[in-house]
């Protein structure tokens, strides 16, 4: 088997994916708007924009962790097939889309109507779809033996379970969205921080 060419293949998928992660994470800043205020009201107006900053910070953390997770997954994948490229493109779709629900969530977070819940649910749905894409990539790589090292059936089940639990947490946030939008954002941020530590510990 053309092993070197297969490696080159996963390298270019990673480079393209890294580009999209880096661009999406940097585009988030375009959703922060400079307030137009009467003289002397700028500091107050910036404080009023806290939902923008909270959503920015949360999405930055999530995309940062997704990037780390993506790399650690592809470090273990040594070959790419057609299914992997398709599933990875699906993941990149949800990654590149995130600035939109971030902006939506930030705009409606402090509305006292069902709109805040809808925005939170759309944001959570986007993250759930990204988590499903991550699970599908891993599950596909296991099933097609694209992994570079032997894993026992038990290890495989454990790793699949781990991704499924993550997906379930994000899906649960869709429900949580209809209880409290600000709480949903907080939980999303804490999930990112938790996964950051968990991911980095396993290195």
């Amino acid at each position: 088997m053309a092993n070197e060419s297969a490696l080159a293949e996963t390298n270019r998928i990673e480079a393209f994916s890294d580009g999209i992660f880096a661009i999406a994470i940097t585009l988030l800043v375009l959703e922060l708007h400079v307030p137009e205020v009467e003289d002397g009201q700028l500091w107050h107006a910036l404080q009023e924009e806290w939902p923008q900053f909270a959503a920015y910070l949360t999405s930055f953390a999530i995309l940062g962790i997704m990037w780390i997770n993506h790399h650690s997954m592809f470090r273990q994948i040594q070959r790419a097939d057609r299914g992997l490229m398709f599933l990875n493109l699906l993941l990149l779709l949800w990654t590149a889309l995130l600035p939109f629900p971030t902006n939506l969530f930030a705009t409606y977070l402090d509305h006292h109507s069902i709109d805040a819940n809808v925005a939170a649910a759309v944001y959570s749905a986007n993250l759930t779809l990204a988590a499903i894409a991550f699970s599908a990539i891993w599950w596909h790589a296991l099933r097609k033996h694209l992994i570079d090292h032997e894993m026992s059936a038990k290890e495989q089940r454990a790793s699949v379970l781990r991704y499924s639990v993550g997906t379930a947490f994000y899906a649960a946030c869709i429900g949580l969205s209809f209880i409290s939008a600000p709480l949903t954002l907080l939980v999303q941020f804490l999930l990112a921080v938790y996964y950051g530590f968990e991911q980095l510990r396993s290195k």
Copy 2:
């Protein structure tokens, strides 16, 4: 012949092209606008924005497939000459431009006037010009013997024919635009999915 330097040359063309594909595909999200609504109308307003989401999804799929196609073409090209660089720059022009007709199409897709057809035709024309650039790159590479492997005259004709058929499909969509704009978008999406599978199968 300085083979290594020639390879370095195609590598840097690929890296630059990859950058533009990744940026263009990520910039698409900037055309999705957060609706401003009366209390309680957000979910309804998001549904009203379906043309934006449909156009986003279609252009994302098209740019993703173009990226895969570009790479698989340049994996076979081992040397770059002046014509190749010029034709590749032409392809990148249509690639980087795509967010504009995407936005145009999304804005006018559900207008009940000739404007929907005009927008669909502009979108289809952009894709046709990209397909022509792809064909021209491949035709030029064959004619100038920039390919890394021997191809029989029959194989060459078959590969050129394949690109010509693709270009003809996109050109036919310009005509289809004047029959139905939404149908044109659907066909473009299905073409992208078809090429995705066809491209990935041939790997």
Copy 3:
């Protein structure tokens, strides 16, 4: 120790960071707006926009120097651990955010109210937080022995002191913001030029 894999690890952190530096520095231009004027007033209107250009130039210089500094730091770091990745992500947060306070500063620089001072202070605070992240990365790399060469305790203290002095200068600019906003921008620009020369001399 898997030395090669560790190097690959720092290489990908650098590539991702470089991407974010390059994108943030290029996105700055989106904050420059074409003035809408009465016939014959364009040149005058462009001159009125001097705060936009001054802020653009200053942030470009700062991000350029930060990129040089980041690279020269990571050239000395040969291994990445969990703390390093976290601290680097923190630095990238302040890097990717900079276009926002740049825009804020440019908008309010010539307001004759406390708002100019608030904007200058927010800008300076962003840079101070970036400087703290730089110090923390270096301090962490020293403490965890991630550096590729031996440094005497004296050399280590000198290098830490150098970063602390830089951070103190940026923090002092938060205070200076409340004395004069334009003077703050000038000092920030001069700091960037000074660090540029200092950084480049030490190469």
Copy 4:
């Protein structure tokens, strides 16, 4: 001399510069705005936007050629020193800025007032400053012996002269701006095409 490290140095300058070229060329599309029209007026409105498309095409060609030129220059430069990094950052400043004068030029190109000339002159000044930065990089590389091959004094003079002539052409366009703005855009486009062919021929 640490030759390998010096090469790594110029490689990373190239990668960072390539990123900025790719981002700036792709951001140009954000200046193309979807016209808002009465029913049935879209095609007419798009034709009215010809200055936007002409300016887009010209700046795309110019940035594409600058990218090719930058690479062909850095392929000959084998070492980077402090001056080179500073001059390259200066070139990137004018590169990353170009979307702004492009937008300015496109907005005022068909105004029948001095504003069209002012916009053309600002655009030409940006390109002149970029040409000066290119000349300065080359002149500095020659003077500091950063080039990877021997050049006779005569060859050196010829290469410096070539850059000076280019700079003079761009400077002359500042003057031409006050005669005719559309003619200036046409000349800028033709200059880009000419340099494209000249540059690619010399490969």
